[in-house]
Symmetry: C2
Subunit: 335 residues, 2 copies
């Protein structure tokens, strides 16, 4: 059988799936950040007329999914699968959105790496001839994440300087076997690595080794260097994690300059009091769906490596004294 694998971890698509459309919904804080103009919709407040933050998150995801479907002009009967996930227990935002959307549903959990992971798996389903079109989407919400992972949101606990701010938002793309748009040409699924970091307020440090590992293996598998990409962008390493990932790469003999950036660093500016940057499933999803897609479409970027970064802990595992494993999943998108 003619395998589409190259090296240890990378697959190269025979008929690279097209990203037909992308849609993003964000909260007001994200709407005040430097990428403000790139989002499809900015909500007025984090509840957006709903009775709870959890309902608001799920509705926000629905809105992003519906926005991407509408923009893609794909008929709903030709959308074969929906792949989605989020950070809430039992990925409840995605489950409820899947109930509304009505498509055959594959739930994905990769923590904050879920967008890149779902884009990779969705591309495999299309290139493997199992689907004509696949709908992908993820969400996160500052206030639902805060009370689930940390303290009651209203408590307003003092945050560590290495802590990141969970992005309130949802991002979605429609992948297709044909059409016009940027294409997903390759994917590198990551291994779970754990360097012993136990500080849940420093997820950047927990994820950095896995992100660096995936970038190294990706480049090795495809015999490429960082210079072959206009942008290498991690999902939500934040300031601390991005610095560490660059350092791990440097010590492994791989120099990355300005082309290695992080969605969590890009989405807020320093005046917004988010400390180490943004995080959450939506962080990479809304930056990709807006800023990065727009620059791919305008050909300002020819080739981008999106590396979703996931911190695979739970509040229970942290309380039980376990360290925090990380993972990085990469997809190559070409103009």
């Amino acid at each position: 059988m003619n395998l589409k694998r190259i090296g240890n971890q990378t697959v190269v698509f025979a008929n690279p799936p097209v990203i037909l459309s992308s849609y993003s919904v964000v909260g007001p804080k994200e709407g005040q950040g430097p990428l403000s103009k790139t989002f499809s919709k900015v909500m007025q407040d984090n509840l957006n007329g709903n009775k709870s933050w959890e309902v608001a998150e799920s509705k926000m995801l629905e809105e992003a999914l519906q926005g991407a479907v509408k923009q893609s002009k794909v008929k709903t009967e030709e959308l074969d699968y929906m792949l989605a996930g989020d950070l809430l227990n039992q990925i409840i935002s995605a489950n409820f959105a899947a109930r509304t959307m009505g498509f055959p549903f594959i739930g994905i959990y990769g923590a904050c790496s879920t967008m890149a992971l779902s884009m990779a798996v969705g591309s495999m389903l299309i290139d493997g001839q199992f689907a004509r079109n696949v709908l992908v989407g993820v969400s996160s919400h500052h206030d639902t994440a805060e009370r689930q992972y940390r303290s009651p949101t209203e408590q307003g606990s003092q945050r560590a300087m290495s802590a990141q701010w969970t992005v309130t938002g949802a991002g979605s793309v429609v992948l297709s076997q044909s059409g016009t748009g940027p294409r997903i040409t390759a994917a590198t699924i990551g291994r779970v690595l754990d360097y012993g970091e136990k500080d849940v307020n420093n997820m950047g440090a927990a994820m950095a080794p896995a992100v660096a590992d995936t970038i190294l293996n990706h480049m090795k598998d495809l015999n490429r260097t960082p210079g072959d990409y206009d942008l290498i962008v991690s999902g939500d390493l934040g300031q601390v994690g991005l610095h560490l990932a660059k350092e791990v790469l440097k010590r492994s003999g791989m120099e990355t300059a300005n082309q290695f950036n992080d969605c969590g660093v890009m989405i807020y500016d320093s005046s917004q009091d988010v400390h180490a940057g943004g995080s959450g499933c939506a962080c990479s999803a809304v930056v990709f769906a807006g800023e990065i897609m727009q620059k791919l479409i305008s050909k300002q970027y020819q080739r981008v490596l999106l590396v979703g970064s996931g911190s695979l802990h739970s509040p229970t595992s942290a309380l039980q004294g376990e360290s925090i494993p990380g993972v990085g999943h990469a997809v190559v998108i070409e103009a």
Copy 2:
């Protein structure tokens, strides 16, 4: 492009992946049930020497994964992906097992349907030529589920008669592009349905409509009838859900007789005080890895439809008054 889809929801594999091996680990209660002799290993107690039930669950999953890998005789460098999930928040059992195993990892969340869903997606990755071999595994644990979803385990709350008992166990299979063993020939990914059931102590009722919907669509897509299967087996509908699913099918004009059974009904006997039967990711996984695989290998079954059933709620969504969406994912396994 030559699509491998038939009808609305079903894919038929061009080169059906082989199930090279299967391995199951269960707790003592499951080891005292009617399927006792079919499991690979029965633990002496639910902690199995670990400091917490959560650690015990993850270690049990590791053991099942390692057992399946060993039995498959596949070299670890030829295992291209691991797909796994569980019921704990942030699928922490699977994440920690993935850290130990070291394979590129795709986290799946389908609640108790995760085994069938992972087998379906894993088969697509192999048949789509993205992988030579895929390791699939799931776990659940009575004591970790009890305290996460319901009440402190030690409290020993009175259980409703419609409630099910979460299976303590882990099941794993190795799927391969070639070799000897039963083959996965088709898969039907389910839609998320919600008929308004809000009773978290009656998950069978919440899941029954979705399971029936998947069976109906599967038969329609492939132009088959229940008589084309030696066994149609749902994951964990339990006594209540199985009865309801049969009723939904009957009212839709589809008669199922003794060939429609449920892993949650099969795994315990009436003397074991489990009320409506077993549940949990492991319920279908260990019954499939043991009993069903053995009867496929001995050709007692020629063709089986395994329909994983998932209840897609969270304790938070239930407390917020939301109803419980269900899903059913089906795979066809042939001797």
